[in-house]
Symmetry: C2
Subunit: 216 residues, 2 copies
């Protein structure tokens, strides 16, 4: 265990902002990018089921196309890296089985010893929810990954812009996500702020602690 | 800007796990807790609207009651701190106005200069969505806060257990959330792992990078 200082955490969270204009020349180093990928993979999820894939779009032509599916927001094409956070559609028993298999593999136990856990997941997520509810559940999980990614990037001094203002259907078409059983939920552009981004110097707006926190 | 080392980020994210058993004697220090509260307040949200409140339940009797609304999971009562992440129900124009007012205050501009932004938010969130869609949107936003909280706690070496397995209606009743225009979405217990928690030493299970990441 190697904890960071309180001040450093708050400094970095205050330093971050939703970057509107990226320096298109400045790229995230392979070491930093690999760390962010690893951080994404480590995102916690309900039951540990990870009902997601993270689509990293490097192809510049595709990224230009995605600008048109993002209300013209240039961050999608200009940032160093672009991640489309996608939820698995209609998660099913096969997904649960794959996860159980993975637990057995990582922990060196028989998958039959996990039958109780398997039944709990199938009962609550597959049998206990219709497709719509299950997909909504998966989408919510994806936002944990977004929170983790934004936090991790800030701590590494990497700028980011989370973007809900996208047309998911167009993203799904352009990236072929539907065929993969996925749907785009939210997007995150990552890289470095341009010196000309006037939003960088604006005061951060949050409600006060007194407004946001309720003590009982 | 004061970035942390890549290794430190990954060390802490690997160190964290969903704590099943907390040391009921060990409390988070006031300085650390205040930092976590500050980190929560700094959570990014769509438009910056922060459609949430974070309910910190200190009263031990109330926490014992909440165990019964959490399928008997003792973390709710035993952890040092308990946060109920709640979404604003039926967010309305008043909320947008309060936010616009807050921007004007923090940035020292006339609120009338923010009319365009105000209209964009009202158009897309209030007029463009029915109550159900808007509440679902707010719930998704809350998961950004959860991701941020889990990440921040891990970096400070504080254990946490995110919990979806709660009965929101019972939480709303016990905590009087409905009267405040809120609904419980997800819960996070925070503190320190008990030496006897056998889950602490299990290998972390994630799908591989190759399975989770799609490169295009």
């Amino acid at each position: 265990m190697n904890r960071i200082h309180r001040e450093q955490l708050l400094q970095q969270l205050n330093w971050r902002y939703a970057t509107k204009q990226f320096d298109a020349q400045r790229k995230i180093s392979p070491e930093d990018w690999s760390t962010l990928e690893e951080a994404l993979v480590l995102t916690p999820s309900s039951f540990g089921l990870q009902p997601w894939k993270f689509v990293v779009v490097a192809d510049q032509q595709t990224r230009e196309q995605l600008v048109g599916a993002s209300w013209g927001q240039r961050q999608v094409a200009d940032a160093s890296h672009l991640v489309v956070l996608a939820a698995k559609q209609d998660l099913n028993e096969r997904d649960v089985n794959a996860y159980i298999q993975r637990i057995a593999e990582v922990r060196g136990v028989a998958s039959s010893s996990l039958d109780g856990m398997r039944e709990l997941m199938v009962g609550s997520l597959i049998q206990g929810m219709d497709v719509k509810a299950r997909t909504a559940w998966a989408s919510r999980q994806v936002y944990i990954a977004l929170g983790n990614l934004l936090n991790s990037a800030a701590l590494l001094g990497i700028d980011a812009c989370p973007m809900e203002g996208i047309e998911p259907q167009k993203y799904n078409e352009i990236l072929g996500l539907t065929a993969r059983g996925l749907s785009a939920v939210v997007v995150c552009a990552l890289g470095y702020r341009a010196a000309t981004d006037k939003y960088a110097s604006l005061n951060k707006v949050r409600f006060t602690k007194q407004e946001v926190l309720v003590n009982i």
